[in-house]
C-alpha cells in the first residue's frame, strides 16, 4: 500500500505530462484508487491516468521517480525533481585528461537534500535556485550517504519556479555532504558518522588487492584501539601505516556492519603521527568493560566485554547436529540444503544476558560452552546415548547457567531482534559482595 508521500512524486510526474489538463488532487485520488483499490501496477496506473485525461503516456519518465529521502545508496536509474541550492564547477584529471565537472546540493519539497555531481556538462548544466526534473540519474554511496550522479545518459528539464518550493530554513550542507569535524574515542563511534578525528594505536593490519574501475588498488584493514575499546578500520589509500604505531586520522567516516561501527578513511582523509604517551599494544588488548545499554546506543561493538545475568536459555542450546557441508543445524539428520547427511555433533549455548537496564542474546560455540559449563561434547554425547535423550543436556546447561552472573567477551551486532554477541570468552562473575556493599554504603552515607 503506497501512502501519500510515496504517491506524491508520481502525482507530480503525471501532472507534468498532462500540462494542466487535470488537478493534482484529482490525479492523486485516481492514482490512489488504481493502486490501492484495484491493485494495478504503478506503471500501468500512471499510463491509464495520463490517457484518461488525454495526455501522451509515452511522455512519462520510465525511470523510478523518487523523493530525495527515498534514494538508496546504489540506484541504477532514478528520476528526481528538485531545486539546486548550490553548484560549482571545477577541473579534475581523468586518465591524464583535464575535465570539468559540476557539483552541488539539490533539495526537494520535503526539505531533504543530496549532493550531486554532473560528469558531462554538455548533458546538464545546473544553475542555482532553479528547479529541474532530472531523469536517468544514478546514485553512489559516499561516506555512508547516497550521492546523485548525472552521467552521459541523463536528461534534464528545467521546471517552473512554483513546482518545487523548498521549505524555509533547511540547512544545506556544503557540497559533499560533510558535517563539522568531531573528535571521538573508539567507544563513541557510531554508524554513519562523518568527518571524524580519532587517535589510536594500530594493533594489527593486513593489506589486500582489490579491483576498482580505475584499476588495481591496495587497501589496508586492521584493528585500532584506544583506552575505550577496539575498532576495525579500512584505509582506502596507502598512508604507509605500520602495525604498532599511534595515528590520528582526520576526516574519517564510520560505516556499520550489522551495527558494528567500522572506521574508514580514504583520499580525503589525513593521517598524522602525534608524539604523545599512549597505552601500549598490550594494554590496549585487554578487556574493555562496557554496559549492554552503552553498546546498544552504538548499535554494536567489536571485541568488547560486558557483564549480566542469564535470564533465559533459548532453543538451540545443548547438543546439536550440523551438516558437514554447510555447518547448518540439521534436524533428524536432514540438512535443508544437502538432504540426508552424515551429521556432525556440536555443542552450543544461546542465552539472554540482562543487566537490569538492557538485554542481549549471547551465542557460545563449543569451546566456550565446554569451558564455561565444564561439560564436554564427549560427555554430552555419552549422556545422550545413555538417556536416549538429546534434550537432557540442555536441561543441565540451564541448571548451571540460569540466574548466574556472567562476564562475556565478544563482538556484538544488532538486527531486528536486538543485540547479539558472538562470545569468544565467558566466565562466571566473581563478586566481592562485602567490599562492594561497603563501597556503596559509603556513597550513600556521604549524602
Amino acid at each position: 500500500m503506497m501512502n501519500k508521500e510515496e504517491l506524491a512524486p508520481h502525482v507530480k510526474e503525471i501532472a507534468r505530462v498532462l500540462e494542466g489538463r487535470a488537478k493534482e488532487q484529482d490525479i492523486e485520488r485516481d492514482l490512489d484508487n488504481y493502486l490501492n483499490v484495484y491493485r494495478m501496477s504503478l506503471e500501468a496506473s500512471r499510463r491509464h491516468i495520463v490517457r484518461k485525461y488525454g495526455g501522451d503516456p509515452n511522455a512519462l519518465t520510465k525511470g523510478d521517480r523518487k523523493t530525495l529521502a527515498n534514494l538508496g545508496l546504489n540506484e541504477g536509474s532514478v528520476d528526481v525533481l528538485g531545486r539546486v541550492m548550490s553548484s560549482t564547477t571545477r577541473e579534475i584529471t581523468v586518465s591524464g585528461q583535464p575535465k570539468t565537472i559540476q557539483s552541488g546540493v539539490l533539495a526537494d519539497e520535503a526539505g531533504a537534500t543530496i549532493g550531486f555531481t554532473v560528469w558531462d556538462l554538455t548533458k546538464a548544466d545546473l544553475k542555482p535556485d532553479t528547479n529541474y526534473l532530472i531523469r536517468y540519474a544514478y546514485t553512489r554511496e559516499w561516506n555512508g550517504q547516497p550521492e546523485l550522479h548525472l552521467g552521459n545518459r541523463v536528461v534534464v528539464e528545467e521546471r517552473p519556479q512554483e513546482e518545487v518550493v523548498v521549505p524555509e530554513g533547511i540547512s544545506v550542507p556544503s557540497s559533499g555532504g560533510r558535517s563539522a569535524p568531531q573528535t571521538v574515542k573508539v567507544s563513541g563511534l557510531r554508524d554513519n558518522m562523518n568527518n571524524v578525528t580519532i587517535t589510536g594505536r594500530i594493533l594489527s593490519m593486513k593489506s589486500r588487492e582489490v579491483d576498482t574501475p580505475s584499476g588495481k588498488k591496495t587497501m589496508f584493514s586492521g584493528i585500532m584501539g584506544d583506552e575505550t575499546g577496539r575498532v576495525e578500520f579500512t584505509a582506502w589509500e596507502d598512508f604507509k601505516l605500520r602495525e604498532g604505531e599511534v595515528i590520528t586520522v582526520s576526516n574519517g567516516y564510520v560505516k556499520g556492519w550489522k551495527g558494528i561501527p567500522r572506521l574508514s578513511f580514504g583520499e580525503r582523509a589525513e593521517v598524522n603521527r602525534p608524539k604523545m604517551d599512549f597505552p601500549s599494544a598490550e594494554q590496549l588488548s585487554g578487556e574493555v568493560m562496557r554496559t549492554i545499554e552503552d553498546i546498544e546506543r552504538n548499535g554494536g561493538a567489536f571485541d568488547v566485554t560486558t557483564q549480566g545475568t542469564i535470564v533465559d536459555i533459548k532453543k538451540g542450546t545443548g547438543l546439536i547436529f550440523r551438516c558437514p557441508e554447510c555447518h547448518r543445524v540439521v534436524l533428524k539428520g536432514v540438512c535443508q540444503i544437502h538432504g540426508k547427511v552424515q551429521q556432525v555433533p556440536d555443542l552450543r549455548i544461546r542465552v539472554i544476558v540482562d543487566d537490569g537496564f538492557a538485554a542481549m542474546t549471547a551465542v557460545m560455540k563449543k569451546e566456550v560452552s565446554e569451558e564455561l559449563t565444564g561439560i564436554t561434547l564427549k560427555e554430552a554425547l555419552d549422556e545422550a546415548r545413555e538417556s536416549m535423550d538429546t534434550e537432557a543436556i540442555a536441561q543441565r546447561f540451564e541448571e548451571r547457567l540460569l540466574a548466574k552472573p556472567l562476564v562475556l567477551r565478544g563482538t556484538v551486532m544488532s538486527d531486528d531482534y536486538g543485540l547479539s554477541m558472538t562470545v569468544t570468552e565467558a566466565r562466571f562473575a566473581t563478586v566481592d559482595v562485602k567490599s562492594e556493599a561497603e563501597a556503596l554504603l559509603s556513597k550513600i552515607e556521604v549524602i
Binding site: 535470564v311 540482562d354 537490569g356 540460569l402 540466574a403 536486538g418 559482595v433 562485602k434 556493599a437
Partner: protein, 295 residues
Amino acid sequence: MMMREPAWRVFASEFNASTLEFKGEGEKAPSYVITPLGAMINRLFIVGILTDMQNLGTDQDPYWRATVSDGTDRFYVYAGKYAPEASAALAKIEPPSFVAVIGKSRTYSSDEGKFYVSVRAEKVLTVDEHIKDNWLLETVRATLRRIDAMEEAMQMETPTVEGLVNLGFPAPLADGVVRAAEHYQDPDVNRFRGTVLEALEQLLPDRGFDLPLPRDMPTGPEEIDDEEIDDGEKEEVILKLIEKLDVNKKGASLPDLIKEAAKLGILEDELEEINNSLLDKGLIYEPTINRMKRI
C-alpha cells in the same frame, strides 16, 4: 526492532508501592508497572526467600501462588498452566529456600480503586546465597540510580525524557521517571534510600546503621485494624461471603471474594489463611481453579 524487555532489578517495597500502570498502543503492546522511582517494569528478575506456597488450582491443573521475601517486603508470584515450566519447577520447591524468579509484572485493581501488583513467573529456580547477595547488590545499585534520576527530574521545571537521557540515564528509565514524577507527585525518595540501607544491612550484618526516617508512612497498602473481628468470626464471615457470592452454583470466584473481603477489612493475605483453614476443616472446597464452594 523487537527488543526484549529488560528484567528490572527492584526491591519488593518499591514494586509494591506502585499505583501506576502504562499500556502501549496496539494489540500486542506490552504493559508496564511504573514504580514511584520510575522503574518501567514489564519483566523483572527477583531473588529472595520463598516463604510460602499455595496451590490455588487443582492437583491436575495447579495454579501456584508463592510469596518471595527480599527482606524489604514480599513479592507475590503466580505460576499456572500458561507457564508449565515455572509451575512444575515451583511445585518441587520446599519453602523456605532461596529462589530466583524471572517473570512479568501483573496488576489488579479492586472496585475501590486499590491497586495490586504481582509477578507472573516465566522461570523459577532455587539458588544459593551467593546469587541472592549478588542480586541484593545489583538491586541496590539499580535503586540508587533510579533515586538519582528521580531527584534530577524533581529539580527540573518540567522533567523530560530528553533531559534525563542527556544526563546519561537510559531511555526506558528516563521514560519511566518522567511518568512517575507526574503520577506520584513528589515521591518520597528518602523512603527508598531506607530500603537500600535495609538491603545493605543484610549484606553487612556486623555494621551499625543509621536509617533515615521516611517522611511519612508508606504509601502502599494501608494497615487495616485487625482487632475488630476475631479469627473465628472472620471464618464465619468468609463462609457467608462464599455462600453469597456463589450465584451460579459453581462456587464463588476468588477475585470476587478478595474484593468483597477487602471491603470488610480482610486483606488478600489473611483471606488466604482463612480459606486454608476452611479448606482444612472441610467446610469449603475448590470445584475449579479460583473458585470456592461451601460444602
